[in-house]
């Protein structure tokens, strides 16, 4: 009799396990198609009895889909179900880790809605197109929920996104706010926010504030790394002002020369108003190359467009200066060489400024050091 009962129990269990396996696989097929019914299908396997080796796995898979759907309360409930029935140590460690992570994210459930909206907005911001509306919504969310556990992280996200939109002041305001918030919370987040702030300040050559912030970074190796970045940033800044001063001086000299060669300011103005032949040739070619560049890497495109804009202005000023010189007789070889040399210097200065403006200097420096493939 006992033998028959055991055989019956084993048969029932084996049948249930087989059915669960089929249902688990069917749920997996739905998940692979991103079908929203997948979560219900997994939960059905989890709820089916008797418990089989698929039961705890099904609850965990359901929890993962719930988290993807930003239904964090459901994810927590599903994980609790998995933890309640599993006996596998590795599985339990993983499920408990996921539950702890969700609780860290949503508190005791009071931040579930905020966390969901946070995920939705960040996805929308990163998804392409103009993110201004979503960024403003995220700002409003952060302001309305000062106690949100991921408040520092979301401020850093906001800062990075505004920087991408070229709203540098707004980006820096959020990072300063992240440092302020982190200072009243835990220790590790303060450094995290401050490091982000220093990096952004260096990127935008706001070095005085960066210099004040670096000593406040407590992590010695990160502090050393930031000191190196700051030193590099200071060199870039000196070079930027040098390049700018050089262009202003050369431009002034060109205007003075044209004025002298044409005899009056009015004539000089007319000379500058007329595009020289080299500009007429150069601009259409530059426009085509600029358009092609704009279809690729946006940073490189920005650099290319700024280089061409600078080159067009230099070609215009150079052409006007040469035209004015030609009115007084043929140009000698020495004059031509000197002119070409000065234009070359101006081009180098303009290219430097364009690369600096497009934040491509680090990339160019790295390519210089390690080769084009790197």
């Amino acid at each position: 009799m006992t033998r028959w009962v055991v055989a019956l129990v084993v048969t029932i269990w084996a049948t249930a396990a087989h059915a669960d396996e089929q249902a688990f696989r069917a749920a997996g097929e739905l998940a692979a198609k991103a079908d929203p019914r997948a979560i219900d299908a997994y939960e059905a396997v989890g709820a089916a009895r008797p418990i089989t080796r698929w039961t705890d796995d099904a609850w965990v898979e359901a929890a993962r889909i719930a988290e993807q759907q930003r239904d964090y309360d459901r994810a927590r409930r599903d994980l609790e179900q998995a933890i309640a029935i599993s006996t596998d140590a590795q599985f339990l460690r993983r499920a408990r880790g996921d539950l702890a992570r969700l609780e860290q994210m949503t508190g005791g459930g009071e931040w579930t809605a905020v966390a969901g909206e946070h995920q939705r907005l960040v996805t929308a911001i990163a998804g392409g197109g103009d993110p201004t509306r979503e960024l403003e919504q995220l700002e409003a969310l952060v302001k309305a929920n000062p106690g949100y556990p991921r408040g520092v992280a979301v401020r850093i996200t906001l800062a990075r996104a505004w920087e991408t939109e070229d709203e540098v002041d707004r980006a820096l305001r959020w990072l300063r706010d992240a440092v302020r918030l982190a200072s009243v919370r835990t220790g590790s987040e303060v450094d995290r926010a401050r490091i982000e702030l220093v990096r952004m300040l260096v990127r935008h050559r706001q070095l005085d504030e960066a210099r004040r912030e670096v000593p406040l970074v407590t992590d010695p190796s990160m502090r050393a790394s930031l000191v190196r970045s700051l030193a590099a940033g200071e060199s870039w800044r000196v070079m930027r002002w040098t390049a700018l001063a050089l262009l202003v001086v050369l431009g002034g000299i060109a205007i003075a020369l044209v004025r002298r060669r044409t005899g009056s300011w009015r004539a000089a103005g007319r000379r500058f108003a007329r595009p020289p032949a080299e500009v007429i040739y150069f601009v259409p070619i530059a426009a085509v190359i600029g358009f092609i560049a704009s279809t690729g890497n946006p940073l490189v495109a920005k650099g290319v467009i700024w280089i061409f804009a600078g080159a067009a202005i230099i070609a215009w000023v150079s052409g006007a200066t040469l035209e004015a010189a030609r009115r007084r007789g043929p140009i000698g070889v020495r004059h031509a060489i000197a002119h070409a040399g000065v234009v070359g210097v101006a081009v180098v200065a303009a290219v430097y400024l364009a690369l600096d403006h497009a934040r491509l200097l680090d990339l160019v420096a790295e390519t210089w050091r390690t080769g084009p493939g790197h």
Partner: protein, 425 residues
């Protein structure tokens, strides 16, 4: 100078062992009970069994795990000491999670070797090779020398899928941390919370592979994770085939091109910046063909290397690799190719050759997750792009017998779009 000699003499007091002078010719040591050899490269000493020789501060640091044999039954624990001259090291271990130090009843003597990076400093690597372990089992361990042991930590061996066919394995995946170690620390903590079995790292941990100070940051900031989960590393262009790179990781084969099974997955790792560039279209192609052929019956097939065959970001697609390697990837129907190099996140649609496929069946998805900490690049899109984003990131690959799930995360914990689930009958 004199004081360091005095320190050495004091330290060596009580030991008859006189360490040999540093030689940088590399060498080989057979590891008893493991069936494999440890080979060090030019620039490092030959590996030796640890001796009774203590320096001024033998405290272990930068503990991290790897494996050179079958990950079901073996593990390598690696560490350095504060003083860098201690030659003594052993592991104490026992089956079970989070045990007390007193419960670690089994012992094994370690091995050690010195290596040079930039400058004349000699760094000393210690390794303890554990073989004959039980599959899918958690062990507690501590390493060090008498009076100077590390805290007790735990690791888990790879599961035996023959005994446990429905088991799930989870791989953390990331790359390109160089000079962004604060972000690497955040990502490592976030991935650690998800309890992975293994970390797959697609290269460029440091700016230059010879710079030891960056390696210290790489290992130090993720020690909590790397001392509990083994790491498998694909050589990146910034590692520059340097001795410190080869000295600090324990991986199968030649540590450049190798394959291994983990759960229901077969993972192939390749070096796409070898010393001899001709190897990319020669010996590495031969290796890939042989490894893919040997593992053609694996349920899930993954390839990890550094430079992407498909990318719309800064460097673009590596056409040499696309021409030489992708036909083999297509021939053997690899499921997933994992890359870094581009400091962003990028995932392709399912591809075969130059064609986007309507379904994932017999097609390959290429992922770039090179946002481990380095300064970000702008992302791009092209006809093959499923999703791309300029963000720091780390990813998880979850593998069951019939199902693989890929998901990536930003530093703030939000999920990056483009994740997928693929199933097989």
């Amino acid at each position: 100078m004199r004081s360091s000699w005095v320190l050495l003499l004091v330290a060596a007091c009580g030991s008859d062992y006189e360490p040999p002078a540093f030689t940088d010719l590399g060498g080989t040591l057979k590891i008893d009970g493991c069936g494999y050899d440890v080979t060090t490269k030019l620039g490092a000493e030959p590996p030796r069994v640890s001796k009774d020789y203590l320096g001024s501060d033998p405290t272990p640091r930068l503990v991290h795990l790897g494996f050179m044999g079958d990950p079901k039954t073996s593990m390598v624990v690696q560490w350095r000491t504060v003083d860098e001259i201690t030659r003594n090291g052993e592991i104490r271990f026992a089956k079970g999670a989070d045990l007390d130090a007193a419960a670690l009843t089994e012992k094994k003597t370690g091995i050690e070797f010195g290596y040079q990076a930039t400058g004349s400093t000699i760094y000393r690597m210690h390794q303890a090779h554990l073989c004959g372990l039980e599959p899918g089992t958690t062990y507690s361990y501590q390493i060090g020398s008498e009076g100077h042991f590390s805290p007790v930590r735990s690791f888990t061996t790879a599961p035996d899928i023959a005994a446990n066919p429905d088991t799930e394995v989870v791989f953390g995946f990331m790359g390109d941390t160089r000079d962004g170690y604060d972000i690497w620390e955040q990502l490592a903590t976030a991935i650690g919370q998800r309890t992975p079995n293994l970390i797959l790292f697609s290269g460029d941990a440091v700016t230059i592979g010879l710079t030891q100070v960056e390696w210290e940051s790489f290992f130090g900031r993720a020690e909590e994770l790397l001392a509990s989960v083994p790491i498998v590393f694909a050589h990146g262009n910034h590692e520059v085939n340097a001795t410190p790179y080869f000295s600090q990781f324990a991986m199968p084969g030649d540590q450049e091109n190798f394959g291994f099974d983990y759960g229901h997955a077969h993972i192939t790792v390749a070096n796409d910046t070898p010393i001899e560039v001709s190897a990319l279209t020669g010996s590495i192609v031969d290796f890939l063909k042989a490894d893919f052929e040997a593992s053609k019956n694996a349920r899930w097939k993954l390839l990890m290397h550094h430079q992407p065959m498909w990318s719309a970001s800064n460097h673009g697609s590596n056409m040499t690799l696309q021409t030489a390697w992708q036909p083999i990837v297509d021939q053997y129907h690899l499921d997933l190719v994992l890359n870094g190099h581009e400091h962003e996140f990028e995932i392709t649609k399912p591809l075969v050759g130059q064609n986007v496929m309507p379904s994932m069946d017999n097609a390959t998805v290429y992922v770039v997750a090179g946002g481990g900490g380095a300064e970000l690049y702008a992302n791009g899109t092209d006809f093959w792009t499923q999703y791309s984003e300029s963000t720091h990131n780390a990813a998880l690959v979850r593998i069951r017998r019939d199902q693989m799930t890929f998901e990536a995360y930003r530093t703030d914990g939000t999920v990056i779009p483009g994740g997928f689930t693929k199933t097989k009958q």
